[in-house]
Subunit: 347 residues, 2 copies
Amino acid sequence: MNDKSTEISQLGEFGLIERLTKDFPLVNPSSKKGVGDDAAVLSFGDKEVLVTTDLLLEGIHFDLRYVPLKHLGYKAAIVNFSDIYAMNGTPRQITVSLGVSSRFTVEHIEELYSGIRLACELYGVDLVGGDTSASVTGLVISVTCIGEAAKEDIVYRSGAKPTDIICVSGDLGAAYMGLQLLERENAVAAQSDSKVPFEPDFTGKEYILERQLKPEARRDVIKELRERGLHPTSMMDVSDGLSSELLHICKASNVGCRVYEDRIPIDYQTAVMAEELNMNLVTAAMNGGEDYELLFTLPLADNEKIEKVPGVKMIGYITEPSLGAAMVTRDGGEMEIRAQGWNAFKK
Amino acid sequence: MNDKSTEISQLGEFGLIERLTKDFPLVNPSSKKGVGDDAAVLSFGDKEVLVTTDLLLEGIHFDLRYVPLKHLGYKAAIVNFSDIYAMNGTPRQITVSLGVSSRFTVEHIEELYSGIRLACELYGVDLVGGDTSASVTGLVISVTCIGEAAKEDIVYRSGAKPTDIICVSGDLGAAYMGLQLLERENAVAAQSDSKVPFEPDFTGKEYILERQLKPEARRDVIKELRERGLHPTSMMDVSDGLSSELLHICKASNVGCRVYEDRIPIDYQTAVMAEELNMNLVTAAMNGGEDYELLFTLPLADNEKIEKVPGVKMIGYITEPSLGAAMVTRDGGEMEIRAQGWNAFKK
């Protein structure tokens, strides 16, 4: 972080907003008016407008002892973009509201914004508004993302039909394992009483760390599907864990599902880390969350087409609702899928 | 509050959201899809989309010792509607994100939502999304409002021209005085060691309390202006105080202004309370904030038309930028207007 420190009170709210937002040029023709008025003005013509929002709270969603502020900003934006892609839309604008306690300086907040800006640049999204204020304790980040899509392109959770195949992009459980690693190293560092600063060795674990600290939204998968003329019958992003998301699709579509344990995509580093920590690998992949991969269903007839898409795996199929949601284990048995997804209210 | 208590952890996040949002039917044809997918889907045809967002933090923006949760929910929605009206638009949808610490029960959150629902019903706005999670300390409320307006109707802060007249709706300083009253009574109650519960007497102070606890957005003024064919050259709502807002308009429009001290609209109860607390009345009216009145400018030629609009007062005029922003005092002197508006970062 920067050596120079400015008390936020020196700038005041408007000064801070001006300073934070001056480096965000508007790039989309649909962004008519960004920061600096009572509301942002967006123009979409015949397109549908998509809106999603996420609230990130220090001590609940992130721990600044091992998450750099720039990464936090990047991730706060990405998770919202991911929600828009999961509707088969394109993110266009975001608003960012911050609550900032007195231990943060302007430079800290600029670090955070530099990550938001990087995400906006890479994904072609405009920052169009927000609200910044003090907080009594900790950092509060609220992001709202607005996207667009042609009406006929939008994919809901509710369109899955029996016999549809279930697909997922990328691999699962890596972000969760990255978090376990960071928490372990942080605990070790806290216990170390050596005068030599503790230097964790993350060699061979770069992938799971990156999945936790710098996730990406699967714009590439959306593009690929579109180019191949594949239109999912249902879709959502995997933020709370595959189990939880499968149940959402089953409930919204009034269907059941079968997914095969041996088809759940898992990276080598994820498996090594689970082994090291003596954790059940499939449980981590099914329930870990924060993968930001796309889970979607396609008509059975698209079977051959989807097999040719790199980085997408068919993991099962949709059934009649009476059959419930289950995982077919390696030994051929069936295990009911339950939402063990992350519950922020659990004690 | 309700006697029945449910731990939020019993419901989990999705259970809580389902419970909180089930009583919000969608009323606008433009609300294609509300809560229950990755993003809300809105359809506006040829209209412009307006988006505004506000973050409210316990201990900073509100004090639950004297603000009932239902009122807090109502106000959290209203302040966002006010921002959309201030663009000459119509609020259509909101998203509400909450961070809730363990001292809150489901019934508490339902109280809060009952206020949000009331505001939505009265103003014809749909709740279309949000995010709910635990917080380490206190209550966090983030509201985003989406509105619509025909392109030619939108009023920015930047359109004021020299010789334009400056108008404000309603009266100013009352919400600030209501807050002073609540804080005083709360301090008295805290010091009281009597066994008899302290019962504050608010007789004759109902108006200033209502202005603080249950503000309204000035939809009526927007309607009145439209019906009379009056199109403001600039407009914003008074949330941080008249001084601060006048400076925003002057800066955005590159103009100066003169407002007359003896024309600032102030209610009788506001004046009585300022007297009781030995505070400067004009300072309170100029800098108190939370009025949610509309401040706007009109061409000089609309002078006679606006005089006939009930509840709107002409308080001054726009000048060349070189003349700066000043208040003309009762004795004919000039006092530079400075932003003494509420600064959440001030210690």
